[in-house]
C-alpha cells in the first residue's frame, strides 16, 4: 500500500485462462467492503492467445486505473513466463503467486524464440518472493480445468487487506447467480488453492532454513 492507501493487485496470464473473471470477482469483494475500485486490462486481442494483464486498484479513492511499474502489492501469475514478464511491476521484494503451467506460444514452437529455462529462478534472482504451485493440476483433480481461476483466487486469499471469507463470498455469489451447481466445486477449488499457497510458503521456508 502507498500514501493514498490504495492496494494494487496485478493479475496476469494469457487469453482464455479466466484472468479477467478472477479480477472481476476480486473487484466485487473490494466493492462489497465499500472501497472505491478501478479495474483495467490490456487484452486487445486476448481471445487469440495474447498476453492479458489486469490491474485492480482499490482504496478510499482511486484516480488512475493503472498500476505503475514497481508499485504492485501483489502479482498473481496464471502462467510462469508471464510471472517473469510482469514481475518488474511489483514493489521491491514483492510477492508473486504463480501457477507453474508453461503455456508455449506458436512463436516458440516455430523456433523463433526460447521459453525461459527457469522463470521462477529468474524472478527470484530479481529479488522477489515466489510461491509456486500447479493450479491446473489442482483444477483437473477437482474435475474441471476451468476451476483454475478459483484456485488462483484461493491462493490470494491470505494476502489481501481483507478476510479470505469476503473473497469466498464474492465467488459464491457469482456462481450462485450463474451456475448454482458449481458453487460447491468452486468452494473446494478455493480451499485447495489456499492450501497450495500455504504449502508453497512452507516449502520455501524449509529451503531457506
Amino acid at each position: 500500500m502507498n500514501e493514498q492507501n490504495v492496494t494494487n493487485i496485478l493479475v496476469v496470464g494469457i487469453g482464455g485462462q479466466g484472468v479477467m473473471t478472477a479480477t472481476e470477482i476480486l473487484a466485487q469483494a473490494a466493492i462489497a467492503l465499500g472501497h472505491d475500485v478501478k479495474k483495467t486490462e490490456v487484452a486487445g486481442m486476448a481471445q487469440r492467445g495474447g498476453v492479458v494483464s489486469s490491474h485492480l486498484r482499490f482504496g478510499p479513492k482511486v484516480l488512475s486505473p493503472q498500476i505503475m511499474p514497481g508499485t504492485a502489492d501483489l502479482l498473481v501469475a496464471f502462467e510462469a513466463a508471464e510471472g517473469l514478464r510482469w514481475c518488474h511491476m511489483l514493489k521491491p521484494g514483492g510477492l508473486v503467486l504463480l501457477n507453474t503451467a508453461h503455456l508455449v506460444p506458436p512463436v516458440v514452437d516455430l523456433g523463433l524464440y526460447d521459453y525461459p529455462a527457469d522463470p521462477i529462478a529468474e524472478i527470484r534472482a530479481r529479488g522477489f518472493e515466489v510461491r509456486a504451485f500447479d493450479a491446473m493440476k489442482i483444477a483437473l483433480e477437482l474435475g474441471d480445468v476451468r476451476l483454475g481461476n478459483t484456485v488462483m483466487l484461493g491462493a490470494m486469499a491470505d494476502h489481501l487487506p481483507f478476510p479470505a471469507e469476503t473473497l469466498l463470498d464474492a465467488i459464491v455469489k457469482r456462481f450462485a447467480a450463474r451456475k448454482p451447481q458449481m458453487v460447491e466445486l468452486n468452494r473446494q477449488a478455493f480451499e485447495a488453492g489456499r492450501a497450495a499457497e500455504k504449502a508453497a510458503a512452507q516449502a520455501k521456508e524449509e529451503v531457506t532454513a
Binding site: 494469457i14 472481476e24 473487484a27 466485487q28 466493492i31 472505491d36 475500485v37 478501478k38 479495474k39 483495467t40 486490462e41 490490456v42 487484452a43 486487445g44 486481442m45 486476448a46 481471445q47 487469440r48 492467445g49 495474447g50 498476453v51 482511486v62 484516480l63 488512475s64 486505473p65 493503472q66 505503475m68 511499474p69 514497481g70 513466463a81 508471464e82 517473469l84 514478464r85 510482469w86 514481475c87 518488474h88 511491476m89 521491491p92 508455449v104 506460444p105 506458436p106 512463436v107 516458440v108 514452437d109 516455430l110 523456433g111 523463433l112 524464440y113 526460447d114 521459453y115 525461459p116 529468474e122 530479481r126 480445468v145
Partner: protein, 620 residues
C-alpha cells in the same frame, strides 16, 4: 420487458466506460442506436442491444450507422452512434454536412480512440473532428463521467441542435469503475419529422445560407465551454506547475501530482481559452497534458498563453504517471526518478488465429504458392502476414485490399510482370467497404483473384453478426446476403466464382492455382464459420502417435495453436541436405478436430484421439 440491469435509481454499478455510456444512452430516452463494431467501442452497442425500448442495429459500416442516427435525430428522436476512431474517417462525409443542418432530437456520437494501439492500425486523435466539423467535444475521464457526460450531451445536443462528440479512449472504454446510475427518462417527440427543405436538403445555396449559422453557433459553443461545469479547476498548494488535462490523462495528472493545481477539460472543444488564461495566471508554468496531438496546446499558444506540452511529453501513446513524473521533474530541474523496474526480456505473445480457424487452410495454401503479391485487408486474416505463413503483403484500411490489388495490377513494373495479384478480404470487411472496390476491379477489367473469406461473423471484434450471418444484433434470424449472387451481380463471370470449403486443402489449392492463371477477375468464396460463433460445430479431436511422427514439420506450417513442437533434431537427408526435424504433439483438449493438419501428414501420424487412452496419445 425487464431491463437487463434492473438497477434502481442511485444504485452503484461496476461498469466499464462502454457499459456506462450504454446505460446513459438508454436512460436518456434514446430511441435509435447504431454502430459498426470496432475495438475499443464495440461493447457500447452490444450492451445497448440488451436494453428494452430502444432500437439497436449493427450497421454495415460507420457511415451508414451515422446516417441511421442522423435520420432518427431529424425525425425528432434521440439517437446514438458509436465507432472506433478510424470509423469516423468513413463516416465523416456525413458529419461534415450534418454540422450545417444540425439536428432536432439529440444526437451523440461516441468515438473511441485507441491511444496505446491495443488493436488498431493507427492512433489518430478524434478531437480534430470537433475543430473540423465545428461541433462540441466532451471528454470523460472515467466511467462515472462517461455516464454523466453522455446524459449531458443529449441535453446539450438538443439545446443547440448540434451533434455532440463524446471522445473516449481505450483507457476509458475498457476500464471498470463504480457508477451511480438513474432511471430511464422518456424523451418526448411530439412534432415528428418536419419538412423543411431549406434545412434538410443541402444544396449549394442551402449550405451557403447555413454556414453563417454554424459560425454563430461557434460563438455560442465557446461561451458554453467557458462557463461549463465540465471545465473545473482543482486547486493545489504547489503552484510551480499548473496542468490542463482531459480524458484519462486527467486522472493520471491527479494521481501523479496531487499537490499541484489542475484544470480539467471535460468540454474540450471549443477550448475555453479565457478560463485557461485566468488559470495560467495563478501558476508559475502551465503544462498541457493531452493524448495524442497538441491541439489544445497549439490553440493556447495561438491565443498568446505560454505553455508546455509536447516539448516535454511524448506525441504517442498514453500519458500515464510513469511518463509524466520524469518529464515534470526535468522541467523543474529536479533529479529524475530513476526507473529501477526494467521488464525482463521474455518472448512476445502476438495474437494468433484460433485453434481450427477457417482461415488457417487458406494461409497454409497461400504459403505454398510462389509468385504471388497478396493485397490484404483488416480482420483476423491480417494475421496471415505473420508466422508461419508470411502470406499477406499489404494492409491499409478496411476494404483497401480491392483497390490496392487493382493498383498493383495496373501499376506493375517490369520486375512484377509475371506476378499474380491476389486480394484477401473477410465477409464483414467486404460488406463494409470492399464491394465497391470489387466493382471497380470488374468495371476496369483488372486481373485480380479475390479470396472472400466468409466466416459469417466479424471475427476480429469478437464474432458479432453481419449481413452475411443470417442473424441480427439480438441473434434473431435476419435476411442473409448471398455472396456468390452478389459478386455475380457486380459483374464477375459466373464461371469465375467458386464457393469452397477451406478445410478441403486439395480443392482450395487447385481452385486458387487455376484462378490465378486466368487473366481476369475471379472470386473464391470460403464458406466455413468462425469458431467463436454458434454455427461452428466441434468434431472429434486428434492426437499424434509419437512412433509414427517423422518430424517433417508439415503440420506446424498449418499454424494451428493446438500443435506444439516437442523437440527439434538435425538430420541429413539422402540428398546430403541438412534439415531440422520438428516432432510434435497436439493439445488434444483444445483440438476441435477440423482435420486440417491431418492432410499434409504423409505418415498418417495424426489420428483421432482414443477417448479410452488419451494419456498415451498426448504424452510429451
Amino acid at each position: 420487458m425487464a431491463s437487463v440491469m434492473p438497477a434502481p435509481s442511485q444504485s452503484r454499478l461496476f461498469l466499464s466506460g462502454n457499459e456506462a455510456v450504454a446505460r446513459a444512452v438508454w436512460e436518456s430516452g434514446c430511441k435509435v442506436a447504431a454502430a459498426y463494431p470496432g475495438t475499443p467501442s464495440t461493447e457500447m452497442l452490444e450492451v445497448l442491444s440488451t436494453y428494452p425500448d430502444i432500437y439497436t442495429e449493427w450497421s454495415v459500416n460507420e457511415k451508414v450507422s451515422l446516417e441511421v442516427a442522423i435520420g432518427a435525430a431529424f425525425a425528432g428522436s434521440r439517437a446514438f452512434c458509436a465507432m472506433k476512431h478510424v470509423g469516423m474517417n468513413v463516416a465523416s462525409d456525413a458529419l461534415m454536412t450534418l454540422t450545417l443542418t444540425g439536428v432536432i432530437g439529440g444526437l451523440v456520437i461516441a468515438i473511441a480512440d485507441d491511444v496505446g494501439l491495443s488493436s488498431s492500425q493507427n492512433e489518430q486523435d478524434s478531437r480534430f473532428w470537433g475543430r473540423f466539423a465545428h461541433v462540441p467535444v466532451f471528454e470523460p475521464s472515467d466511467s462515472q463521467e462517461a455516464y454523466e457526460m453522455t446524459k449531458l450531451a443529449f441535453d446539450f445536443s438538443e439545446k443547440h441542435q448540434v451533434p455532440v462528440i463524446l471522445r473516449m479512449t481505450t483507457r476509458i472504454n475498457h476500464v471498470k469503475a463504480l457508477v451511480t446510475v438513474g432511471e430511464r427518462m422518456p424523451h418526448d417527440n411530439p412534432g415528428g419529422f418536419k419538412k423543411d427543405p431549406a434545412r434538410w436538403v443541402m444544396t449549394p445555396a442551402g449550405a451557403g445560407r447555413r454556414i453563417p449559422l454554424m459560425f454563430e453557433r461557434d460563438a455560442i459553443l465557446l461561451a458554453e465551454a467557458e462557463s461549463s461545469p465540465l471545465n473545473v479547476v482543482e486547486s493545489g498548494s504547489d503552484r510551480r506547475v499548473g496542468f490542463v488535462a482531459s480524458g484519462p490523462a486527467w486522472m493520471h495528472v491527479r494521481e501523479a501530482f496531487p499537490a499541484m493545481p489542475a484544470l480539467k477539460l471535460g468540454f474540450s472543444c471549443p477550448v475555453p481559452v479565457e478560463k485557461i488564461r485566468a488559470f495560467a495566471k495563478t501558476v508559475e508554468r502551465l503544462v498541457v497534458v493531452e493524448e495524442v496531438e497538441p491541439l489544445v496546446e497549439k490553440e493556447l499558444k495561438a491565443a498568446g498563453i505560454a505553455c508546455h506540452g509536447k516539448d516535454i511529453l511524448p506525441k504517442q501513446g498514453e500519458l500515464a504517471p510513469n511518463v509524466l513524473k520524469p518529464a515534470i521533474a526535468r522541467l523543474l530541474g529536479e533529479p529524475v526518478p530513476e526507473n529501477l523496474a526494467k521488464p525482463a526480456p521474455v518472448f512476445p505473445r502476438p495474437p494468433t488465429m484460433c485453434v481450427a480457424c477457417p482461415h488457417l487452410g487458406v494461409y497454409y495454401t497461400l504459403s505454398q504458392i510462389k509468385n504471388l503479391t497478396i493485397s490484404g485487408d483488416i480482420g483476423c486474416y491480417t494475421l496471415g502476414a505473420g508466422h508461419p505463413w508470411n502470406a499477406l503483403d499489404t494492409t491499409i484500411s478496411m476494404g483497401a485490399s480491392m483497390g490496392i490489388a487493382l493498383g498493383l495490377d495496373k501499376g506493375r513494373g517490369e520486375a512484377d510482370k509475371d506476378k499474380r495479384i491476389l486480394a484477401v478480404i473477410g465477409d464483414s470487411t467486404f460488406l463494409h467497404m470492399g464491394m465497391q472496390g470489387l466493382l471497380d476491379i470488374v468495371y476496369n477489367r483488372g486481373n485480380v483473384t479475390v479470396l472472400l473469406l466468409d466466416n459469417r461473423a466479424v471475427g476480429m471484434t469478437g464474432g458479432q453478426p453481419d449481413p452475411g450471418s443470417g442473424r441480427d444484433i439480438h441473434g434473431e434470424p435476419a435476411p442473409r446476403v448471398d455472396f456468390a449472387k452478389l459478386v455475380e451481380a457486380l459483374g464477375v463471370k459466373k464461371e469465375r466464382i467458386h464457393v469452397v470449403d477451406p478445410y478441403q486443402l486439395p480443392v482450395l489449392f487447385k481452385t486458387i492455382r487455376e484462378e490465378i492463371k486466368v487473366p481476369e477477375v475471379s472470386v473464391i468464396i470460403t464458406d466455413q464459420p468462425c469458431v467463436l460463433i454458434d454455427d461452428y460445430k466441434k468434431q472429434k479431436p486428434y492426437a499424434v502417435i509419437d512412433e509414427k511422427c517423422t518430424g517433417c514439420g508439415n503440420c506446424v506450417e498449418v499454424g494451428c495453436p493446438a500443435i506444439h513442437v516437442t523437440r527439434r533434431e538435425k538430420a541429413v537427408k539422402p540428398s546430403g541436405k541438412e534439415v531440422e526435424l520438428q516432432f510434435v504433439r497436439i493439445e488434444t483438449s483444445v483440438c476441435t478436430g477440423c482435420g486440417l493438419c491431418v492432410q499434409p501428414c504423409a505418415p498418417e501420424a495424426i489420428v483421432h484421439a482414443d477417448p479410452r487412452q488419451p494419456m498415451r496419445l498426448v504424452k510429451h
